[in-house]
Symmetry: C3
Subunit: 152 residues, 3 copies
């Protein structure tokens, strides 16, 4: 009987990570604050370079997106978050370290789209109840390479 | 005897969808009108926000790309269609609902490339003779969020 | 006993190619010249449209990236290479022909990111010691469609 190997484990993982990020960013850009926050762990941390402190926990993550969505609506702008060049590094503890590039595209109503920010995104993803979730995210802006998340 | 599961079905599907879109957009951007139209079903529908009515069927799809390609050649511009953040949702009937972001990049000869349009692309893909094809496509521009495809 | 097919070969290959490119571009954009050159074969060739001759071999590839990295550091700019719409065509000899779009994003310190160049990237990838490597790369700029790599 042939050995049953876990056939393409990278392929399965890679597709799952890409699908996860697609839904995750669709939620973010739609302003679906609570659903987006649920793609983090309960105590998930998001360290954007523009915040003085990392944002911790789903309630704060939800509040942050809700505020951003209101500001964008008031400004008449749509933002899109596009991740690319996604490198997935499985860790011994089962978590995934993922490094990617993030383009943030801003489009004003009746206006011209622009590349608003170019960033590097470093995530720790974990599996909970079968689903991938972000436990930790650190984002660095290319225009402010010296500005470390959480130290602004 | 071990159970033979369909090992990573999402992975297989996800890779196939990405490969499909890569070839599909390479054809479009090369102005290969007929070959591109063949990646739709015979009665495939493409509803861009800029058209007063959805474009129906391969003959019309071919004619549309041919006209666009001629206009771009006359203007000395190259357009590229880049899909990202691709979320694939298999449906009970075997079709796939796919939501993605589309950047359209325009580059004039000897000029500077620019992000021409930022869009959301919603496709229904089906399988015919083993190949994926677009049965339905609806595209929304971020600069005109209220403009529904086919209602312009 | 059921036949053991190579379950999703495209999926495995596709994920591996994407992961390869992600790491490859992270190395390039970090200015990790030697590590980047090691993702080419020993006699690998890179034909950018801006060079009068193709760059051949790891020593020259390393030198080229080192020089670029120094120039970028002096200019206070970060460059990112983003591949998308990746079409993988396995060849009879086991190599892979891969065609993709490349956005090169430039961000000055404290400045606004811009789409610096839009290119098409045509690679031949081969496997050495289990790892994918670039044996040949030809890049064409959309703003100079008539300029063939190596003929500038």
């Amino acid at each position: 009987m042939p050995v049953q190997t876990d056939s393409p484990p990278l392929a399965a993982l890679y597709a799952e990570v890409q699908q996860f990020y697609a839904r995750h960013m669709h939620l973010l850009d739609a302003g679906a604050a609570e659903e987006w926050a649920e793609t983090f762990t309960e105590d998930g941390v998001f360290a954007p370079p523009s915040a003085p402190e990392p944002i911790r926990g789903r309630a704060n993550l939800t509040a942050g997106v809700r505020e951003s969505a209101e500001n964008l609506a008031a400004a008449g702008e749509v933002h899109r978050h596009l991740l690319s060049m996604v490198a997935v590094e499985p860790q011994a503890d089962g978590s995934l370290r993922v490094r990617s590039y993030a383009q943030i595209i801003a489009t004003p109503r009746e206006g011209t789209p622009r590349l608003h920010l170019m960033c590097v995104c470093e995530d720790v993803l974990v599996r909970e109840s079968g689903e991938l979730r972000v436990r930790e995210r650190r984002v660095t802006r290319d225009d402010r390479p010296d500005l470390r998340p959480g130290t602004a």
